[in-house]
């Protein structure tokens, strides 16, 4: 009974005390004033009295991702006999900002003994999301989750707790972040992604459970594996020290234009968590057994899956203005050199032309420029060597193309310079570099044939390098008025007519001349008999006077003259042969011709052999008269 009485006393005492504590009931609110889009944060309402009907304001502009989580604590202090009782009730909301701007959070109300108390309304400014570390948590919310000893284990991030038994490994203790080297890049420009694990608890095993797909990107893992050990450093975020491990480094090269989403990366790890003895209750007997402090005092292994946040990368197209013809997609900052090992050589001797592109940029995807060799050169496929290394800025390296070339013909040749163009994202402009031009002098090799035999040149067909229309005609334009055709023109007919007239005139003239010639011949023919008779008469006189010489002269002249006139033979062409031939042509009977020739012969003979008998002269005279009269009948 006494016990009951003393208990009542205590209550009686406590009530006024409690009433004292309730003197000034307040509802305070604490939150971040500035957040970034996508950031998760907590709004904590704290009351110092117990009340009913807590109504939260509408969190317009934010998404409520958790809450309200209620937690309460009370403490009683006795100082110098006075008893102080403190009550603390918190209502915690987890919010996420999804759009930028300034948002007003209204008052929350709580009914305490019929009276309504309300919190102070306030504004939250949501800033655009820029370049700040992505992923995990922005777990530096006010108050820190370590202070909230409620049943909320959030903290944020897109992390999921597979193992829900652990309230102590929060997003603030262990999270994954991705750091892109830039947020917007040109097509083909390399971007380095660094994935870092931030942890405040020891992590024992680490494996990538889901690598990002990187759709629309060319990728290359450039993590430096120094013996499997991760590079660790420490970093402070909002005054809290984290151990940072670089998990992976990837170079991505965008291959299409536009807003490209970079997928998150997920990792699985085992965190070793110091447990608070007794504070946890597990329903799983096995887990309770293995995690028993007897085996592992105060340490518990928790398997966790973390993932980074996805983010957008803006891929800009390459400018079309000023794009050189030789541009083949190289983006970065390069140097282009060329080298030749010899410029004076003999036929069938090989030389090497080396083109080297070096610099920072995506050397692996680089297309080497192709040199143009003189057509008679035998060119082998280039040997391409690639040498890359990774720097903080990404990939860099050297690409080398070695052309083995054999000139097959002697002469002086020029290898034209090759142009290599690239786009420099730093300046936003195209650059073109040219290799050197080389003058080669190729001498005829002494030992052209490798077998040492006689060099037989391999005959080849002509190589056609291109086709084009034939060149224009130069020189005289040979202009003439349109529609002037020579055929059928007056000039044409005139020329034909002239030719015809000329022909007719020539025919006519010739005929006339022939006529004239014929006329003279006819005259001579007519007179031949007469002349011959005259000569014969004189010969008869010489015959009477026995003048042998003169007789023969007259006789010979009479015969020759007669036949020449009669046959139309010129005196100069007169001979025995022409006479007989012409007579045959004129179809004089052979015997008459024979007779005439005989008479002529004997006449000539007697003339140059004088001293013959007189009767011979008479005979010759008779024969002469005879043949002339016979011939006169025929001719």
């Amino acid at each position: 009974m006494k016990k009951i009485l003393s208990l009542l006393l205590v209550i009686a005492c406590a009530v006024p005390l409690a009433l004292r504590a309730q003197d000034n009931p307040t509802l305070t609110v604490s939150s971040k004033q500035q957040v970034v889009v996508g950031e998760r944060f907590q709004v904590v309402f704290e009351a110092n009295v117990e009340g009913r009907n807590f109504t939260a304001p509408s969190f317009e502009g934010f998404t409520v991702v958790g809450g309200p989580f209620t937690s309460s604590s009370s403490s009683i202090q006795m100082i110098n006999g006075s008893v102080m009782r403190t009550i603390r009730i918190t209502y915690t909301y987890a919010l996420q900002a999804y759009q930028e701007g300034t948002f007003h959070i209204g008052a929350a109300t709580l009914t305490v003994k019929g009276d309504k108390i309300s919190s102070q309304p306030f504004d939250i400014k949501v800033l655009p999301d820029q370049g700040n570390p992505y992923g995990g948590t922005t777990g530096n919310s006010t108050g820190g989750s370590s202070n909230t000893s409620g049943n909320w284990s959030g903290g944020g991030g897109t992390q999921s707790q597979r193992n829900n038994t652990d309230p102590d490994v929060s997003g603030n203790d262990l999270f994954l972040k991705v750091f892109p080297s830039k947020r917007s890049a040109y097509l083909g420009e390399q971007v380095v992604l660094t994935y870092k694990l931030y942890t405040r608890v020891p992590v024992s095993s680490l494996s990538i459970s889901k690598a990002p797909a990187f759709a629309g990107f060319w990728t290359k893992d450039v993590s430096d594996n120094n013996g499997g050990a991760l590079r660790q450093s420490s970093e402070y975020i909002n005054g809290i020290e984290y151990t940072v491990a670089e998990i992976q480094k990837v170079v991505i090269v965008p291959q299409r234009v536009g807003q490209c989403t970079v997928d998150p990366m997920s990792i699985e790890c085992v965190a070793q968590v110091r447990t608070n003895r007794g504070s946890r209750r597990s329903n799983d007997p096995f887990e309770a057994f293995f995690n028993d402090p007897f085996f592992n005092p105060g340490i518990m292994n928790v398997q966790k899956e973390l993932s980074s946040q996805s983010f957008l990368l803006e891929v800009k197209p390459l400018p079309t203005a000023g794009k050189p013809d030789s541009f083949a997609g190289a983006v970065g900052n390069y140097n282009f050199t060329s080298d030749i090992d010899m410029t004076e050589l003999s036929t069938n001797e090989a030389f090497t032309l080396t083109l080297t592109v070096s610099g920072s940029g995506n050397v692996e995807l680089l297309q080497m420029p192709v040199p143009v060799f003189p057509p008679d050169f035998e060119v082998y496929d280039p040997k391409i060597t690639l040498n890359t290394n990774v720097t903080a800025q990404g990939l860099s390296g050297t690409k080398k193309a070695e052309y083995l070339v054999i000139p097959r013909r002697a002469g002086n040749f020029t290898i034209a310079p090759v142009a290599f163009s690239y786009f420099d994202p730093a300046t936003g402009s195209y650059n073109t570099l040219n290799s050197e031009a080389y003058n080669l002098s190729v001498k005829k090799g002494l030992n052209s044939d490798p077998d040492g035999g006689i060099y037989a040149p391999n005959q080849e067909g002509i190589q056609y390098l291109g086709s084009d229309v034939r060149h224009i005609m130069s020189g005289d334009a040979r202009l003439k008025p349109m529609n002037t055709v020579f055929f059928g023109s007056a000039l044409y007919y005139l020329i034909l007519l002239c030719l015809l007239v000329l022909f007719i005139i020539m025919l006519f003239v010739l005929k006339k001349r022939e006529q004239m010639a014929k006329d003279t011949a006819a005259n001579r023919n007519r007179k031949a008999d007469k002349v011959a008779r005259g000569r014969l008469k004189r010969a008869a006189q010489y015959l009477k006077g026995r003048d042998q010489d003169n007789f023969y002269v007259e006789m010979s002249q009479a015969l020759w003259g007669y036949i020449a006139d009669k046959l139309g033979i010129e005196r100069s062409k007169l001979s025995m042969d022409t006479v007989s031939e012409t007579m045959r042509e004129k179809q004089v009977p052979d015997e008459l011709t024979q007779q005439f020739v005989d008479t002529l012969n004997s006449c000539e003979f007697a003339r140059f052999a004088p001293g013959s008998a007189e009767e011979k002269m008479d005979d010759l005279y008779q024969r002469g008269i005879d043949v002339i009269s016979k011939a006169e009948k025929v001719l």
């Binding site: 229309v469 224009i472 130069s474 202009l479 003439k480 349109m482 055709v485 022909f503």
Partner: protein, 243 residues
């Protein structure tokens, strides 16, 4: 006399234009070369080099229908020019339509090939020469004393008479071909050949710029055309350039 002097001066400026145009062509200013060649044509003067060079300039400007037109004009003046024939063949490769020509009979082919040995004017001169030789042969035949020469005159006379007759026929054919515009080049990018000379008639086939058609008759702004493979249809006259 004054007229002659005027023509002489006009010809001189045209020659200068020709040289300027050639210089422009060599420098790569094909459009200004074309303008100058057109100026020469506008003076009612023409020649194979002018049309040929103009065709080349059009070809370089990728205006293949005009290039083909110019080459065809040049070829009409001189069917024997090898350069023109080559470039026309190259330009014809650049156009859309590839029309298989109708096979010609052997004799027609021989006849046309022979005719294209010389230009019309040269055939006319050839006929003059053949005529002169014919007269010489006749003279030999009529007046020679020797029987061999007479025989030679007789047979060569027959030969020259044949050459004369043939070249007169060729020259006549080429002359009449040059006086009528019986062929045309399609200038519109695409044309539809109709079955009769009105819009509503049946579509027969489609031709593209640069194709050559033969003009058969004209009716009411429409031309009856035949293409190289023998197909016949009607086309609006303003879509082609006759030559």
């Amino acid at each position: 006399m004054a007229l002659l002097a005027f023509t002489g001066r006009a010809q001189q400026t045209a020659e200068e234009w020709f040289e300027q145009a050639n210089a422009a062509y060599n420098e790569g200013y094909y459009d200004s070369a074309v303008v100058l060649y057109e100026k020469i044509i506008a003076t009612e003067m023409e020649s194979v080099p002018v049309y040929y060079n103009m065709g080349n300039a059009y070809y370089k400007m990728r205006e293949y229908p005009m290039a083909i037109y110019c080459y065809e004009k040049a070829l009409k003046l001189d069917p024997s020019n090898d350069d023109v024939k080559t470039n026309l063949a190259i330009a014809n490769l650049a156009i859309v339509d590839k029309i298989e020509p109708m096979p010609q009979s052997f004799f027609v082919r021989i006849w046309r090939n022979t005719r294209s040995w010389l230009s019309g004017d040269l055939w006319a001169w050839c006929s003059v020469a053949a005529f002169a030789l014919l007269l010489v042969a006749m003279f030999l035949f009529l007046r020679a004393r020797r029987i061999g020469l007479r025989k030679l005159g007789f047979f060569s006379g027959i030969l020259f008479l044949a050459v004369f007759a043939l070249s007169v026929i060729f020259a006549f054919q080429l002359k009449s071909a040059s006086e009528v515009q019986d062929q045309a080049i399609i200038m519109a990018p695409t044309v539809t050949v109709k079955s009769s000379p009105n819009e509503s008639s049946v579509d027969l086939f489609v031709l593209h710029e640069g194709s050559k058609v033969a003009l058969l008759e004209t009716s009411n702004g429409w031309n009856k055309v035949r293409i190289a493979n023998g197909s016949i249809g009607w086309l609006e006259a303003d879509k082609m350039l006759p030559f």
